[in-house]
Amino acid sequence: MLKYLFRRNEDIPPGTAAVFFGFSSIIWFVVGTGLGSFNAAKLAFPDFVTGSELFSFGHMRQVHVLAVIFGWISMAFAMAMMYITPALGNTKLWSEKLGVWNCFLWNVGLSLGLTLLWFGMTSGREYSDFPWAIDLYIAAFIALPMALNVWMTILKRRTQGIYTTNWFFGAGVFMVTIVFIVGNSPEFFNLTGLSEAYLTWWFAHNVLGLWITPIAAAIAYYTVPKVTGNPLYSHRIGHLHFWSVVVFYSTPAAHHLMSAPLPEWLKSFASVEGVLILVPAIAFVSNLLLTMTGKWHMFVENVEIKYTITGVMLAIPLNMQGGFQQTRAINWYIHGTGWIVAHAHLALLGFSTFLEAAAVYYGLQTILRRKLYSLALANFHFWFLLIGFAIYWISMTIAGLIQGAGKIYEVPYIDVVIAEHPYMIARWIGGTMVFTGNIVWLYNMYMTAKAGTEIPEGRLPHELAYER
């Protein structure tokens, strides 16, 4: 890949940036979940690897979180944008060279940022933990080049309309850039106090709401019609989804701070807007499930559809839970407990990861023009991910309910810690299954690139039979 950095744009084969991004994202996925599993082990067995500053929980936790968000999820998004945006515009990526550089600088910057974090150089703000110098780097060398490539490709399209996926892509790269810069402004300008705390959560909320959720959904809007051959059930519902994301998802940031002394009107407002997130959620889920009409056999037979539809279905509990847990009636019970950690993994490891994994599976086969090496390994990956995630989610939800009960009944804290112990072990086992599945995936994709059957001209990957 690196050899293309200094080639002329015309000499770089189309799709190079997407392949580069695709493999980078899988590697970050392996690294990130490995770190997650390590952290989980520490919470279950506190004396596992001790006595070293670098391997203490407080130094490792944020490295896991930012590795999976900026490494796995966001790079998988970039990979999807680099091949889906041109495909939907019937054109080439605006600049393949910019894409390759984008990916290179992304890997360099993220590795650097995570290393600094690991050594303790943090801004002390959850999700915007990177020191401000790294924030500026991310805005200038990661977000902007990606946004530029996506917009220019959409402008240079050779189709008349713009398909749903591309609205989301075009708006998403814009919104994430704004959110990133505004959300980190406390570090640039030394804002302090509650305004700073609130901006921290404004950032965290909007990165999920205006970047991760809509882009993951946009990918599904492409994968399902493309692979099943059915047209999207309804563009109108797509419109509803898009606009309600912009209006409703961008407003409830304060629901993360329900027990902090924020102005009361803000909390009530956030709580109501948070329930309204069900509008885009229901629009999205129903639109895609209805697109599947007549093709449900592919849910079992086809790898990409299996992943995508599982992700779409996980959006149902995710949004139900999200809408209700942030109302004042419920939030006081589960705030700050493992329940929230379970919810975070339902959103990122459940819902969004499954959608992105499908995009990476499909994209790599399409661009490399090679059929997936092994269906068996893909199924192994799928089930390890799903079962591992389920164990994670169930155990942390139970742990959260125990903590919630501990809060109101004023149980001595240590008794809560003791009661949670079995669930901490279960979470570690579940997470380690996810990690194991990912290693298998990396191998499978590597073998696909090397030894997958070549796809003849004019055929699509899903039209060929699996061989192993």
Partner: protein, 316 residues
């Protein structure tokens, strides 16, 4: 051409996103900055200094460039006994907190009093300054404000530090850095919840308690007791030492990590700490081979654990 549609669409998009930002950013900020800082808020910002995370003065988060908090019971200039007062010493070069640099952020009343009576604008970064918290009435309300004691009482940083002595000097600002760097806030909150658990952990914070603090680090995830008032629950330094060196010494079921590495290389007497020997002795104890655990070394006066314990004990 179908372009018209996108023209309208993109304008609507701008209106929607802009409107959302007005409601969720502009309006709350106006509200939050219109609140006067409380005594707790002043104490926090004066004892923590400018920034508690990554900054110019302290890029590696070692606790550099932070003020010192001292307790005085005699006037450092005249040596006359005075009523006990907490003073915040900013030695030459130590960056001032946000309230001194931008008095406006102190909120109504406190801004006016701090500039007029407290003379904070005379504080000079190159010479350093000493601040105390004072109280006066403003428009019929009692307001806490910052007094620049270097200007009003002629107290100089070195004088104050000498008068107080090391035993009465607390490196709270550097300790906050340790708290942030070591990720204590991934497990502990600094936010008893308004709903119910404040009955156990003490009163929840108020709006003005945060003016000038950065980062607030009150945490989102509670895997351990809230610490906002831990200093009034447990004031034993010996307990803290054992607990930080190895939490399982005092609480066998704890999942808190060991922070023995914060002791650094040498103990209070300058002798090298032999961690391997300590761990071997501890393992024997943990496996029931010995009855008494090894002693926790006394920490050096400039060790990171001193900072951290000073900070934790200040959470009253």
């Amino acid at each position: 051409m179908a372009f018209r549609e996108y023209k309208i669409g993109s304008r609507l998009f701008g209106v929607a996103l802009g409107g959302s930002m007005v409601i969720t950013l502009y309006m709350p900020t106006v509200d939050m900055t219109s609140v006067a800082v409380t005594e707790m808020g002043l104490t926090k910002q004066l004892s923590y200094g400018r920034i508690g995370g990554f900054s110019y003065e302290d890029p590696f988060l070692r606790g550099d460039g932070k003020p010192k908090t001292v307790v005085l019971n005699k006037d450092p200039k005249t040596n006359e006994p005075i009523e006990t007062v907490q003073a915040f010493v900013y030695e030459a070069g130590t960056p001032f907190p946000s309230g001194i640099n931008h008095p406006r952020t102190l909120g109504p009343g406190a801004t006016e009093l701090s500039t007029a009576q407290g003379r904070i604008e005379e504080a000079n970064h190159d010479n350093g300054a000493v601040f105390v918290i004072s109280r006066a009435t403003h428009n019929g309300e009692t307001v806490n404000y910052i007094e620049n004691a270097s200007a009003t009482r002629g107290w100089q940083p070195s004088q104050v530090l000498n008068a107080a002595g090391d035993a009465n000097t607390h490196l709270i600002g550097s300790g906050k850095i340790m708290f942030v760097r070591e990720g204590c806030w991934w497990c502990h909150t600094l936010l008893p919840e308004q709903t119910q658990d404040w009955q156990y952990f003490g009163i929840p914070p108020r709006l003005g308690d945060y003016n000038g603090e950065s980062p607030t680090a009150f945490g989102s995830d509670r895997k351990a007791p809230d610490l906002l008032h831990v200093g009034s629950r447990n004031a034993s330094k010996e307990w803290m030492m054992m607990h930080f060196f190895n939490p399982r010494l005092v609480q066998p079921h704890s999942i808190m990590p060991r922070y023995d590495y914060l002791w650094g290389e040498n103990d209070a007497d300058g002798k090298a700490i032999d961690y391997d020997a300590w761990r071997t002795a501890y393992n024997d104890y943990a496996h029931g081979k010995t009855v008494i655990p090894p002693d926790v070394p006394n920490y050096a006066a400039d060790s990171e654990i001193r900072y951290l314990i000073d900070f934790i004990m200040s959470l009253k």
